[in-house]
Amino acid sequence: MANVLVNAPKTAKRGSVVEIKALILHPMETGFRPGPNGRIIPRNIIERFTATWNGTEIFDMEMSPAIAANPFVSFFAVASESGTVGLRWTGDEGFVVEERVAIAVE
């Protein structure tokens, strides 16, 4: 069960600029914080978020432990042609989540 919320318009005018917002469930454990036993909780973060439009990479974000838990990212994209926006989060402990949304361009 991937827990991702993506907000993107279902339709857009050709050439218009649309906003894409994405939220994902993830602790973003910094690796600097002691746990209840006093030992440092190992780092567990999302390191990278990438977005593609019909397979072409259009946006990329390298994250650090300073990104808040349950990371939120918003960015814009030119609605060039109808297709699929692919979102991908990768990080520590083999974390990989992918999500796709379709945008129809008229």
Binding site: P36, F59, A68, P71, S74
Partner: protein, 159 residues
């Protein structure tokens, strides 16, 4: 002491190249009362090298007073036509007081239409945040914001 030294070196480095470039160039005017922690200055230099950093074109939107530093909304917007010929290729955000100076680096291009990125960050304490935008032509523009983080009133159990 070290901070002062580093700040001078940092300013000297940027000022030297600044002299060679025409136009209104403002060396990042960090307040003299709070010298830039060296880690942030070093991290910025790693990204910009010897290229001067101009102030402007970038706006950094953060609440001035944050009720809890664990989730602080932040939006960086950069003025740019975002065309093949002239676009913003990267936005870097740095902070002074978290354990690591780098917050995020976003890479973008003409396909984005607008050079605007939003996210949420953690701030352990009141501090200065710096956003630097890198143009396709290799220029760096910046904005700073001071954020005041209120401290929780009650100490909670560790849960």
């Amino acid at each position: 002491m070290d901070h002062q030294m580093d700040r001078r070196r940092f300013l000297a480095g940027t000022a030297a190249t600044a002299g060679a470039t025409a136009g209104a160039i403002v060396v990042l005017p960090f307040g003299s009362a709070s010298a830039t922690p060296e880690a942030m200055a070093a991290a910025i230099r790693k990204v910009v090298g010897d290229t001067p950093i101009r102030e402007g074109r970038v706006s950094l939107d953060l609440p001035p007073l944050v009720e809890n530093g664990s989730t602080v909304p932040l939006v960086v917007s950069v003025e740019s036509p975002m065309t093949e010929a002239d676009y913003i290729k990267a936005i870097h955000v740095f902070n002074e007081k978290n354990p690591q100076p780098g917050v995020f680096t976003a890479r973008l291009g003409p396909r984005n239409g607008r050079a605007v990125v939003g996210t949420r960050i953690k701030l352990g304490d009141s501090q200065k945040i710096v956003a630097i935008a890198e143009t396709s032509g290799g220029q760096f523009w910046s904005a700073r914001a001071d954020v005041i983080v209120t401290l929780a009133a009650c100490l909670e159990e560790a849960t």
